[in-house]
């Protein structure tokens, strides 16, 4: 049986991502060694902390949900060549909107939950709307406008949570969401996995279908692949980038909504510890493929949830995960080089 060129391409991409991760883990090990720790026990603790037991495995899955969605959000924008580094802000604002609806808008039964999640998505899309409109009507770079809005949102959320919506306790958080607005657990008690996990899978599948099986999604991808050619074939480039950013923002908002209504059950100031930025390496590693994002997002979730045990038992700072994250992007950038030598050898 011969392998088709498309399959060969996918295999090669998988190999490149694998090599990139391997290299970053090796360089990470060298850094850990240089700081005077044992890299094997550090990585051991990382794995044990994230997958050592069924409880920690479900914890890791729960941590992965916002990461996977953040990766998906980055990927959707990437596909149409818009670099959305404002996922962090969209996610936070989505969380805020979901939280407020969950607390202050009592609706009957499952309707409340639906409204809460929907509010999160709309909130995220709203924050993505500004860079989208600035780009399509005023030519402002998406990179600059999305990142600037991150800071604006950060201060706005801080104002809301610490000011008018501050909860009864002294914690930097609002009051708890009403019970009807929280995502129920889908596993029995010691295991923590909520309905958000299912919503995440649903989002991944829907985005896959949209991007690969519909005309609109195809147009979006075409814009990312070749802007000029799409323009000449009658595709409205700006409109597609606009839509891609809105969808991206809505997914980011969904991540925030799930985190608030599923995990935290109240709106906490600064609840997103860089989920949006982790979305960039997650999407890159997965080559913007929605299903691959589940894997790479889980990988980052593993590093995050395992890093606490690593810090507690071995002493390596949990910020190490940040370095490995950066290294992954560095080595993914070597893609051209790796591919060049892979193809030359034959």
């Amino acid at each position: 049986m011969t392998i088709s060129s498309k399959q060969k391409d996918i295999l090669q991409q998988f190999l490149i991502s694998f090599i990139a991760v391997l290299l970053s883990l090796i360089v990470g090990a060298v850094i850990i060694l240089a700081m005077g720790y044992n890299p094997i026990s550090a990585y051991g603790a990382l794995i044990k902390g994230s997958m050592g037991s069924l409880v920690s495995l479900t914890m890791t899955l729960k941590t992965s949900v916002p990461l996977i969605l953040a990766g998906l959000a980055v990927a959707v924008a990437f596909k149409s060549s818009a670099f959305n580094i404002g996922v962090e802000g969209q996610l936070m604002f989505g969380g805020l909107c979901a939280g407020l609806v969950g607390i202050y808008v009592p609706l009957p039964g499952p309707l409340h939950l639906a409204a809460t999640i929907l509010a999160g998505m709309l909130g995220g899309a709203l924050i993505a709307f500004f860079p989208a409109i600035l780009n399509s009507s005023c030519n402002v770079s998406v990179v600059i406008s999305t990142i600037m809005l991150n800071y604006v949102v950060q201060f706005f959320v801080q104002y809301c949570v610490m000011g008018p919506f501050h909860g009864a306790t002294s914690a930097p958080a609002t009051d708890p969401l009403l019970a009807s607005a929280t995502l129920p657990n889908i596993l029995p008690s010691p295991y923590q996995l909520n309905l958000g996990f299912i919503l995440m899978i649903l989002a991944v599948v829907l985005i896959y279908i949209y991007m690969n099986k519909t005309t609109k999604g195809y147009e979006m991808t075409a814009v990312g692949l070749n802007r000029t050619a799409s323009e000449f074939s009658g595709i409205n480039v700006k409109k597609n980038m606009f839509m891609a950013l809105l969808i991206s923002g809505a997914i980011a908002g969904l991540a925030g909504g799930i985190e608030i209504s599923g995990s935290l059950k109240r709106m906490v100031n600064g609840f997103s510890s860089g989920y949006g930025f982790s979305g960039i390496p997650i999407a890159l590693m997965a080559r913007n493929n929605p299903f691959a994002i589940i894997l790479t997002g889980f990988f980052f979730g593993m590093m995050r949830s395992g890093s606490f045990l690593m810090q507690a038992t071995v002493g390596v700072s949990s910020d190490m995960v940040g370095i490995i994250q950066g290294l992954v992007v560095v080595f993914i950038c070597l893609e051209n080089l790796i591919r060049y030598y892979m193809n030359r050898r034959k």
Binding site: M35, M148, L149, G326, L337
Partner: protein, 311 residues
């Protein structure tokens, strides 16, 4: 009113100069055709290195040296990835940001044994010796030496593009690398030097934040100034003087924000006041980019290497 002006001028210079340093670096690098949205990462690394240098030697000047070297080192990664390998420039720059933040996070714990911020170190004193200058001596004596270094950097970068052979080479490479190569210019060499120079200037910008304005390093202290610098480059149409001026406009809004916070019994919540610089740049960019006929450097963002498959 006088009090307002006498507060705003030095504060604008103080807040604007770090952005201006980085923006000047951005101009050099982007004119050669290499975009770098990772200036934020370079500034972060520079700010941290400056504190480490000052901590171990006691001299803030050694700290500046450390910052410059670190800025060059971290932009070397960008050089290899984008110029030699031809990676997507936006992606490679994000690597710089993620790496710098990770390294500084781990570094703060490794060097200072605490998380979040470093120990206090010797910072660069203001230029008190200028107090004897007639009329404006009092004003000058309260400025950081970085402000003067910023002026010098502006003059040097302007001269570079106006009068030197290498400056012309940078412009040629940025506008048409193939043509430049045909004329015998080593495209990769010119781009390497330009990007490393932007690392140097970005490192200086970061150093001013940590040992010029304060005396320690805090995680997240750069808070978007690298991206503001990027905006200043675009707003200044890749011209050193205009970019410097744009950076100062952002410095002005930062100073305004600080001034408004000092007003007692201010009815506006401080969170909204702190948004001012970020909102200002969005509005300014929306207004200025709209009528922009000049869309930047022709080869900007495009790889020029045998490894790249896409053009």
């Amino acid at each position: 009113m006088f009090e307002f002006i006498s507060y705003m001028i030095p504060t604008t210079l103080r807040m604007g100069t770090p952005i201006a340093f980085t923006a000047l670096g951005g101009v050099v690098s982007e004119r050669s055709g290499v975009n770098n949205i990772g200036l934020e990462g370079i500034m972060t690394a520079g700010a941290f290195a400056a504190v480490v240098g000052s901590y171990y030697t006691g001299s803030p000047w050694v700290g500046i040296l450390f910052a410059i070297l670190t800025g060059i080192l971290i932009s070397a990664i960008h050089c290899v990835l984008t110029i030699t390998v031809g990676a997507k420039q936006a992606v490679s720059s994000m690597a710089l940001v993620l790496l710098a933040e990770g390294i500084c996070g781990v570094g703060v714990e490794a060097f200072f044994g605490q998380s979040g911020s470093s120990a206090q170190v010797n910072n660069l004193p203001t230029t008190g010796f200028l107090a004897s200058v007639p009329l404006i001596g009092g004003f000058l004596s309260h400025l950081s030496p970085f402000v003067y270094l910023g002026f010098i950097a502006l003059i040097l970068v302007t001269l570079l593009f106006k009068f030197t052979r290498f400056g012309f080479h940078i412009t040629a490479v940025g506008e048409n690398p193939t043509m430049a190569e045909t004329c015998g210019i080593n495209v990769h060499r010119v781009r390497y030097i330009s990007v490393l120079a932007s690392g140097l200037l970005g490192g200086l910008g970061g150093a001013m934040l940590s040992i010029g304005q304060m005396n320690l390093f805090q995680e997240g202290m750069v808070s978007g100034r690298g991206y503001l610098a990027l905006g200043a480059v675009t707003m200044g149409r890749w011209n050193p003087l205009l970019s410097y001026g744009s950076a100062m406009i952002f410095g002005f809004f930062d100073a305004l924000q600080l001034y408004l916070q000092t007003i007692p019994s201010n009815p506006i919540p401080s969170d909204f006041i702190q948004m001012i610089p970020y909102l200002a740049i969005l509005i300014i960019l929306a207004v200025t980019s709209r009528k922009m006929k000049y869309f930047g450097i022709t080869s900007g963002g495009k790889p020029y290497t045998k490894y790249a498959t896409e053009k």
